[in-house]
Symmetry: none
Subunit: 460 residues, 2 copies
């Protein structure tokens, strides 16, 4: 029996113990956004340090101005690649608590349509996911006494609160953390049967814009028709962000945007994605974005401009005939390819200022900015990991992209010059960030088996 | 000493007591648009009933489906004209509360540039104004035991929320309320020294529009680029309300709009109005409305479309990458001449629906609607009242128009066949509908004296 087969057998044999260990971690209420849970966050980190040391890692809790990081190292065979695994032990708050069917921090197994699920806050995002890797390492160590690769681990405790300590921690520990490739386990399968590797994520540039007109709110009877109305101005600015074909009008916005290669487009077409189902689930029927692009392109491979918030004047019940002194909007641009977030914001400022009447002014509040990430489709590690996943799940691994942003992937690229393979076993209906979050037992079990295989494949 | 002079002397002697009575009324938080203040609205009405009964009126509170009306009557000498005085005891909401320098419902006297002012919500609009008439009647009664005219009074409690009960109330009580002429006290002086009679007012049609897209709020990473964003839709709809020359684009919008007669234009030109000062006082410098129209035309004689409120998505501090399920705007149209408010709203609906994507929907909330009004410039009562005002203020009364809407004037015309003289003592900088609303003590004092004179003049 190969070393890999032995490790896989150990994953199977360990399943009950693996679940017990996962449950211990899930019971720790590590809500990072709420200062009341500070000690619980540290406790979750310490739990992982102990678990990793028990397996044979050299693991420690690293203090930061916020919640601590867990860093662990394990040697690999001579010449084997060095991988850095990333996950996060912090979780989202649980409100609205009344919508939970079981206590949010008491892991509860339920069988739904013949499949067992673990219900608990963090079961999918991201404690269940990161434990698949820990358990894969445990099985390898148990059966072979070592790991196929040199493995470092970084578990963060602030992912759900914007990772305020991460950037500096990566900078200060770059030598220690830099590996050949990162493995990031915070994404989903394509569907319940089809594993996936996410190879591209959109970046983001976001900005708040406030248009100032009169020095006070005005009565629209006395001043209407003569005084500037900042709601009109901001409406014009926002509506001019797109042309009639849905393209973003900012100057130079599409610089650095590349077309999706034909073979990838073909693969996406083969995924059986239904735009009708995707939009139908949210009560819509027609793709609204750039004309002549598929929904997968629109959400994975094309940049966007979205107004995420707008406000001005009287917005309560009833009516107030006011011309407000100011109106504001929050705008975010999703970026792809090599689009430069700072240049996009510059072009946005130009767009705003070109439409601003002379006697009005504008102010801005900057928000998050990060470029897109895009893996090289021909990277050998990608092909090896895909083959390993295909072997485990009996279906071709989908090579997909994601519309959202996972800032860690950009940080690894920027700070450590390191590409990331994003592999995760979550499902779209896991209700992450919502009441009744769950993780499929199949995701947990086959996830651990998948990592056992990926470690082996990367070492080949 | 003439009866009039005695009455004027009493107004002067009563001033401290008059102010105390005004303050009692101002302290009642009678915000008509917010159901939370229902009892306070009734209390303000009751306060006025008591005050009028005390003077010798036959006053009562009349219930409506909304806030109550105050109706009062007082006999006049044989053959004297019958006047109906109108004011409103309800006030605008106070947000943004943080911009008030003193508590909005605690009347505070401050001296600015040697002139005393009363700061309080409603001090100018319209409690301070209506109390000038009550105090003029008090002085007449006190000194002559009667009033020069037969006087009826109607105080409304829903003026700031579109007067939903007024139409029916006038219909049902037409015989009781019909007089020879109405006196409406809800307008401004021409400037701090020049009294004015307003002879034309813009009408209004207002409507709230809500655009519904997805059936829930969406994450802009997963859905951005494919899902309809209702903020984009509403921005497009609002920005398309005007063309580049500032004209309103609704079909048939200008039907019934007439040019101002040349002689009136000439009189307006002689008023010494400075567009630069008018706009400069509010921090602006360029008329924003229809090209090639003077500011007086823009605000007095031309119709407008103004967005008075807009909201959608996340509007709190920080950023949330949401595509909201809905976005909404409150829009009002100021109307002139013979524009039909209902036709304007119909055209607005057509405009909205023509720009609505097929898989989105729209809902509306109707608000106030009333046509514009225009007085006959040769009416004898107009000349008598103008002479009385000229006598009190020592400057020719200006015969002007107003940009705001006072629907009651149209209602009086339509329901009771009664013209209205609009005389008020507010100033342009009273900040009505805004934080730090104020009323000049001079307006209050000489306003009461002016009414004492006007009652006398109309009786001649």
């Amino acid at each position: 029996m190969s070393k890999l087969d032995q490790a896989l057998e150990a994953v199977d044999a360990n399943l009950d113990g693996s679940l017990e260990r996962l449950f211990e971690l899930l019971r720790i209420e590590s809500i990072s956004t709420d200062p009341a849970y500070k000690d619980q966050c540290s406790a979750a980190g310490q739990y992982l340090v102990d678990a990793l040391n028990e397996i044979g890692f050299d693991a420690s809790l690293r203090l930061t101005p916020g919640h601590p990081m867990v860093v662990a190292h394990h040697d690999g065979p001579e010449g084997a690649p060095h991988v850095l695994f990333y996950g996060h032990y912090d979780v989202q708050p649980v409100d609205p608590i009344e919508l939970w069917d079981t206590p949010p921090f008491e892991p509860t197994i339920k069988e739904v349509n013949g499949a067992k699920r673990v219900y608990c806050r963090g079961s999918s995002d991201d404690k269940g996911q990161l434990m698949t890797f820990v358990e894969a390492c445990r099985a390898w160590k148990q059966t072979s006494g070592g790991l196929p690769c040199r493995v470092s681990i970084l578990f963060e405790g602030e992912e759900e609160s914007g990772s305020p300590s991460l950037d500096r921690f990566l900078k200060e520990n770059a030598d220690e953390l830099k590996a050949d490739i990162a493995l990031v386990c915070d994404t989903s399968m394509w569907d319940a049967d089809t594993p996936a590797i996410t190879t591209a994520l959109r970046g983001m540039a976001s900005e708040e814009v406030i248009i100032h007109a009169a020095n006070r709110d005005l009565h629209s009877g006395y001043y209407g028709g003569a005084a500037q109305n900042p709601i009109h101005i901001i409406s014009r600015i926002m509506s001019a962000l797109h042309d009639e074909s849905g393209r973003v009008t900012l100057e130079g916005f599409y610089d650095g945007v590349e077309e999706v290669p034909d073979d990838i487009k073909k693969q996406w077409a083969g995924l059986g994605f239904s735009a009708q189902d995707f939009l139908g689930a949210i009560g819509l029927s027609m793709p609204s974005g750039e004309a002549n692009r598929s929904v997968l392109e629109q959400t994975w491979a094309r940049p966007t401009a979205e107004v995420n918030g707008i406000t001005g004047g009287y917005t309560g019940d009833g009516f107030k005939t006011v011309i407000p002194a100011q109106a504001s909007a929050k705008v975010s641009f999703r970026l792809v390819g090599k689009q430069d977030p700072h240049k996009v914001i510059e072009a946005f400022h130009k767009h705003v200022e070109a439409m601003l009447p002379e006697d009005c002014s504008v102010s801005y509040i900057g928000h998050g900015r990060g470029p897109a990430t895009q893996l090289d489709y021909n990277m050998p590690e990608l092909k090896k990991a895909a083959a390993a996943l295909t072997e485990e799940w009996g279906k071709d691994a989908a090579i997909i992209a994601g519309g959202g942003s996972i800032p860690i992937v950009g940080d690894f690229q920027r700070e450590l010059g390191m590409a990331s393979l994003m592999i995760g076993y979550a499902l779209a209906d896991d209700a992450i960030h919502s009441p009744n979050e769950k993780y499929e037992l199949k995701s947990f079990h086959k996830g651990a088996r998948s990592w056992a295989r990926v470690l082996s494949a990367l070492a080949d």
